[in-house]
Amino acid sequence: MLGRTLREVSAALKQGQITPTELCQKCLSLIKKTKFLNAYITVSEEVALKQAEESEKRYKNGQSLGDLDGIPIAVKDNFSTSGIETTCASNMLKGYIPPYNATVVQKLLDQGALLMGKTNLDEFAMGSGSTDGVFGPVKNPWSYSKQYREKRKQNPHSKNEDSDWLITGGSSGGSAAAVSAFTCYAALGSDTGGSTRNPAAHCGLVGFKPSYGLVSRHGLIPLVNSMDVPGILTRCVDDAAIVLGALAGPDPRDSTTVHDPINKPFMLPSLADVSKLCIGIPKEYLVPELSSEVQSLWSKAADLFESEGAKVIEVSLPHTSYSIVCYHVLCTSEVASNMARFDGLQYGHRCDIDVSTEAMYAATRREGFNDVVRGRILSGNYFLLKENYENYFVKAQKVRRLIANDFVNVFNSGVDVLLTPTTLSEAVPYLEFIKEDNRTRSSQDDIFTQAVNMAGLPAVSIPVALSNQGLPIGLQFIGRAFCDQQLLTVAKWFEKQVMHVLCKKGEKEKHYKRKKITCHLTIHKSEGPVVSSHSMT
């Protein structure tokens, strides 16, 4: 039951195969068993059981609230939850219990979802590994999968098992680990530069970043207000659409949400024919650092579309290479501003020093924030100084516009959806990951995902295959702004195809040999079965 998709377990609940309380208890039990993953910062057991009880009553009375009623979910610990500690994995907010629910949390609860807990992240979502939070790093459940373990055994260099564990990616690594380890059916992440899609790719999940303005940010503790969106982590595209259906829509508390009516609910048609689709392959995304495995899968995916009749063309997003540095300026500037409220006066951490208000601010912030956060605050304040503002912030904004226009131009040229890698490679072991600092890692890991946030576009990472190491690899689809439904429809078709095609290895090889190589991507042999449920050790 725990390995099922949200839609499947929803059907099981409706048919009475399992009650919400039973389901909730199963999840709680697995959360305890997988505590070593460090996916959760807070497990809201009592709240979840109470919600399950109420859900059970509704089912008994035939008054189910819909697909999400009784479904265990988890929420990244940077969403405000009424009465439940919300820490952003920072000393600064340890012990902070918000008096209100983020709009997205409230919407899920209004649909009857069960809140299992608050998930781990990089401090204030600043990172790409989920390794830099005050509660310690999140471990990727795939570190303990049969496939990965077997491959590691064959490797003579692998030392003791426990040091080999992999990072989840981030910063929504806790949410990804929670869904991937079957402790819940969907989780909320946040996505500012790829923080939902990156861990989704590393943990073998669907990671969806909606269009900016489609889903309310009210109650999401901000990283970069102009790029943040709540993200959705699920096991399949249909599940993501169900959750999106519950979350999307204007919010009077968030003035950046869009009022134009969006088709609801997000029911995804099963696409039978892709011949009218045009898939764009951005040539700038073929970077030297891209692993050959990912590159190979990317090109196969392109071929798959072409073989099914879609038009696949190479496109150019010429300003892509400026994206990371531009992001650095804009992100740190907003961070410097957003973090100003954490002064120890009203909530969260306060130091013991009381000689003056200024001394108290300084010591509180020194103790409350980690090096990554403090570093970004310093950079951001530098960029915002009167003498630097034009040279850095204003320039970065102009570059951002160019990057956004790149996408506009491509979509105006007739491309429906862009197909790109999500990450450079599969997940790496923690010991490997921490050899580089947070800033280097963030700029490397976000290169395929981050420009999308600059442009406010919807994007989704879909698991495609397992690597030689037995680890999941994801590919990303990017859609037109507010064409989230179209994007997910294409992603759903693709998801079905990879299940179908990539599983039949022999056929597949033949299939690919027939195709002409597009976009200068080299085709390699397929590496393994598509993602399926993995067993925990």
Partner: protein, 516 residues
């Protein structure tokens, strides 16, 4: 909002206003940050110098002062600029604080429609250009009563710019002549208020009230002096002036201080100063950290504020979602300058009388209601309203709305006077009676007190005759050509009638009888 603030310059002072902002603040001793609690509208006036020097004294260089004002005024609204929590005067501390007001993590600003409308209306009233698109910015500084660490304001592109206001300055021997002046307004901006710090020096504590604003108006004055024709001098900013009297004193003091400083070979520092009310002088606030850099950046949580007019309004737009400048213009009440002009033209009133009528809340309406109901001449009405009526109000420190005399009662009284039913002194007596709130009409008072003028010609002639007979010596004096003697006779007759007779009528009868 800002309008009442600008009507003060009436002592022949001739400075140019540079900037005028609206908004308010309760924080004293704040850092250089010009911040204010709660919602505020800002306006400002052009920075260009007007070469209008103070009158040079003998033997002095000619100095010109340039003054710019930043006026912070609270918008009259039910809820705050960016949150739904209420605005209420003298509410208990921190009782009107939303999660956003407390800057809880994850909360977002939502712009209050009423405040935008008020800002547009203010802009229109001050002849501003209304920007169809304006932007919000964050202004950063750390202070205990600024819980977000930044204030949302309109630095780059404010809602209204380039306005002007005509006001009057009293001049002449008795300050009775009004000279029209114009102040240029640089911009009006919507700005969030900070909280209020209450310093408890005894326990060395600072208490914060996040309710914000309490109707106070606050002005920061930027002042510099220079020789006309030369570049502008270095300016100082005198902060947190909360009355017009102190504003004038602070500016006077600061101009003289700067002139003295420069003439003695000193220099003016670009600094923030405060005004000491008891000593009547300005003092450097000695900001430890030197010049603040507010690190302005766009407020990412508020989209550009877009306003429409009749031509740009999108078809089928939801009236709840858009603000139409033309529609606000239609609801704009008649502006005081127009009203004054009308009063002067329509009633032949002196300009200064029109100022008085408009400066007292409700007085104009009272005046107009009296005019509507009485046959008396407008000049008579003006005189009674501004002298008698306003005099009684001032004496008892009452507002027009608290007056015991209604416009109808005064109108009736003036009718009685106009029809010569009563004399003017009797009218004063009736007014005094009316003020006692005994619920009597002027007519009732007149008949009860028998204050009617004697209209009976025969009876009056009889009386005159008796008085003449009783005072032959005075009659003789009249006949000898002593003009004051007639007045004495008139007085005697009036006395005999208990002041009820019209002196003009008495005079006519007496003169006829004495065949003058």
């Amino acid at each position: 909002m800002a309008a009442p603030m600008l009507r003060w310059g009436c002592r022949g002072r001739r400075w140019a206003f540079a900037r005028v902002d609206g908004g308010s603040c309760h924080r004293r001793g704040a850092p250089t940050g010009s911040t204010s609690n709660r919602i505020r509208g800002q306006s400002s006036v052009a920075q260009q110098p007007l070469h209008t020097a103070q009158k040079p004294r003998k033997g002095e260089h000619k100095w010109a002062a340039v003054v710019g004002l930043e006026i912070h005024a609270q918008i009259s609204s039910n809820s705050k600029l960016f949150s739904g929590s209420q605005v209420r005067f003298s509410a208990p501390p921190n009782s009107l604080v939303s999660f956003f007001d407390a800057s809880l993590p994850g909360t977002l600003p939502v712009l209050n429609r009423r405040c935008v409308e008020a800002a547009v209306m203010t802009g229109l009233a001050l002849n501003c250009h209304i920007n169809k698109k304006s932007l919000f910015d964050r202004k950063h500084y750390f202070y205990a009563d600024l819980p977000a660490g930044y204030q949302i304001t309109q630095q780059r592109l404010p809602i209204a710019v380039n306005g002007s206001l005509i006001y009057g300055v009293c001049a002449g021997k008795k300050q009775s002549q009004v000279i029209p002046k114009m102040v240029r307004i640089k911009q009006i901006q919507l700005e969030q208020d900070s909280g209020k710090s209450l310093h408890d020096d005894l326990r060395s504590q600072t208490l914060i009230d996040l309710n914000r604003a309490e109707g106070q108006l606050r002005v920061d004055a930027n002042i510099s002096v220079h020789h006309p024709g030369e570049p502008l001098g270095v300016r100082t900013e005198v902060k947190n002036l909360n009355s017009i009297r102190f504003l004038a004193k602070a500016i006077d003091y600061e101009i003289q201080r700067q002139i003295n400083e420069l003439e003695n070979g000193g220099e003016i520092l670009n600094e923030t100063r405060s005004f000491h009310q008891k000593l009547g002088c300005t003092m450097s606030m000695r900001d430890k950290e030197g010049k603040q850099d507010y690190r302005f950046m766009p407020e990412p949580n508020l989209p550009p504020l877009v306003l429409y007019d009749a031509t740009s309004l999108p078809a089928g737009a939801d009236p709840q979602q858009v603000i139409n400048i033309d529609q606000i213009r239609e609801t704009l009440p008649e502006l005081p300058s127009v009203t004054r002009e009308k009063l002067v033209q329509q009633y032949g009133m002196l300009l200064e009388h029109s100022f008085t009528l408009l400066n007292e809340v409700g007085l104009l309406e009272f005046f107009q209601n009296v005019i509507k109901e009485t046959r008396a001449e407008p000049k008579k009405v003006t005189s009674w309203v501004l002298n008698t009526f306003l005099g009684y109000l001032k004496q008892q420190n009452l507002a027009v709305s608290e007056s015991p005399v209604t416009p109808s009662a005064l109108a009736e009284l003036l009718d009685l006077l106009d029809s010569r039913t009563i004399s003017s002194s009797a009218a004063k007596q009736v007014f005094k009676e009316l003020w006692k709130r005994e619920g009597k009409t002027p007519g009732q008072i007149v008949s009860e007190k028998q204050l009617e003028l004697m209209q009976d010609q025969g009876a009056l002639e009889q009386l005159c005759h008796s008085v003449m007979e009783a005072h032959p010596q005075v009659v003789m004096d009249v006949k000898k050509g002593n003009p004051r003697a007639v007045n004495k006779l008139i007085g005697l007759v009036r006395k005999a009638t208990q002041s009820r007779a019209d002196p003009v009528m008495i005079k006519e009868i007496l003169e006829k009888k004495m065949s003058l």
